[in-house]
Symmetry: C2
Subunit: 319 residues, 2 copies
């Protein structure tokens, strides 16, 4: 068994291996998961969690890397959680990208962690918040969560962030794709990366139009800014950081940050509770109760609803 | 309130409006859903459920339509459940497709029903089996379930079928896409549609290679056939029907059909039970218990796991 209090103490002291170990414990649903989470709870809440999402090829990893550099210059400790299968962190990308990211590999103020998106449905949505908690408790001032902008689970992960950044690039038909994936609804800050390419202005204009930014809003509403960047040359990155800080300040002023974190915690509890209940149902496979019910459905003796009632009654009466 | 026994009787007599009404009742989670499902239970089990899946553009709807024609010629009653947002049934496709499908619109031996894929996660996986039950109870000999081959929920729906047909078309980079979506694991029959186009043989060869069909198998194992079709001209459709019948006979011989239906019923019960439990958790939002727990997580007073334990205990002790 791992000495959890010791590991947490080492993580607090900034030892990367302790941080990595803790993430592995929470990610792998270790038997000590609950002990770890209980130990972390009083240490969390200090990190500002920024989600970065966008289609493959828009330059998420390059932008993430440039943001890490900018935050490090300002003396912040940074955690990176990459849940993008095409991310260099996850080992799925070109060597060139890897090299570009490796500049942070030896910086003790940066934790980089990749998470596989494979595995059972909901697995990622379940594991990512726990990993964010570890990075938070380890003293990261900022946690950047990089996700590929497709699919429901990625949108859910984006919803784990305090501030969501949606990245686009010119000439990728991103507008339509973005709308499809629903990511136009989740952006607090929009970045048009590769802004030195043809069509960057058109992409920004299209985005502006789709977001309805020209329309009047209530005073005090957040108006998602659109920032143009060339992340590979760090151009526009300071403006992204500025937009993030503005959004954070706006959220704090209006109590939005606390509210977002409350909803996030509520969702997290729900997910864990549903998973626990689902496991209890799964356990019923062992004693063949579920199989027996299934047989009775196939023969038409009962229907799935009555069977589910029996199952739930069995569960909730300790049966 | 709807007179459910009467509606079920009318559906048994082949009245399309009664069938449509019943599907609406089960799809919309009507208060009478349980009554409907209970009434249908003894009438189900007669339909052979065939799932058709594939990327947009491979010709799923055309193939489905051609299969309907073939089964109708053989005197079978056919139900079609389209859960593809790009399907002409769902209203998302070109007018040309609509016209092509409308040949079945006036045939009393064919029920066509579309289901939206939008809505809450898991909504479709939950509603589709109920709709299949209605079509089954209404006396359909064959139910064709057309789904677009992307995403987890579609794969789950494919798993509702007795036999799963995976469609591909030449020159669409389908091989890689198919592998990605995991649909290469679910096919009992593979169809290379648009076989009059360049690259059809290459697609079939690549598929053959990826499926490892060249490798030796245990005698008696099912060897998924690859059928080439031009569905728009009904070419190869009889061969698809033949492959389906062979697969069905193989499953019946070996008890695989009964086993698949049992697993399906077990999954269905699980889904309904988990949904019911999730709703109970949702109800807790009303009395602010979940919000109170979330507050305590944000302040670091407790962690999500202890909070989830409290929630589950509250549920399972009737709290």
């Amino acid at each position: 068994m791992v000495d959890v209090p010791q590991l947490v103490e080492q993580a607090r002291q900034g030892r990367p291996r302790a941080v990595a170990r803790l993430i592995s414990l929470v990610e792998g649903a270790s038997p000590q998961l609950r002990e770890v989470m209980a130990a972390l709870a009083p240490l969390t809440g200090g990190a500002y969690v920024v989600g970065l999402t966008g289609s493959p090829g828009v330059g998420k990893s390059t932008t993430t890397s440039a943001l890490v550099t900018a935050y490090r210059k300002a003396g912040r400790r940074v955690g990176v959680l990459a849940v993008d299968p095409s991310s260099p962190f996850s080992g799925g990308a070109l060597l060139g990208d890897r090299v570009r990211m490796s500049e942070h590999a030896s910086d003790p103020g940066v934790y980089i962690r990749s998470m596989a998106t494979r595995g059972h449905l909901g697995g990622l949505a379940w594991a990512a918040p726990q990993a964010i908690r570890v990075l938070d408790a380890a003293g990261c001032d900022v946690v950047l969560v990089e996700t590929v902008g497709v699919g429901q689970s990625e949108v859910e992960i984006a919803s784990q962030a305090d501030t969501s950044v949606v990245l686009l690039a010119p000439g990728m038909g991103d507008g339509i794709q973005a709308a499809k994936a629903g990511i136009l609804e989740i952006g607090d800050v929009y970045v048009v990366n590769k802004a030195d390419r043809d069509g960057a202005d058109a992409t920004a204009r299209e985005l502006n139009h789709m977001l309805g930014l020209g329309e009047s809003r209530s005073p005090g509403d957040w108006r998602p800014p659109i920032v143009k960047t060339v992340a590979a040359r760090a151009e526009g990155i300071d403006e992204v950081v500025e937009a993030l800080e503005k959004h954070r300040a706006w959220m704090e002023e209006r109590g939005v940050l606390a509210q977002r974190r409350r909803s996030r915690a509520a969702r997290e509890v729900e997910t864990i509770a549903v998973t626990a209940l689902r496991e209890r149902i799964g356990d019923l496979r062992g004693d063949q109760r579920l199989d027996a019910l299934a047989d009775r459905i196939v023969t038409g003796e009962t229907d799935p609803y009555r069977a589910a009632d029996e199952l739930v009654d069995g569960l909730t009466n300790g049966g």
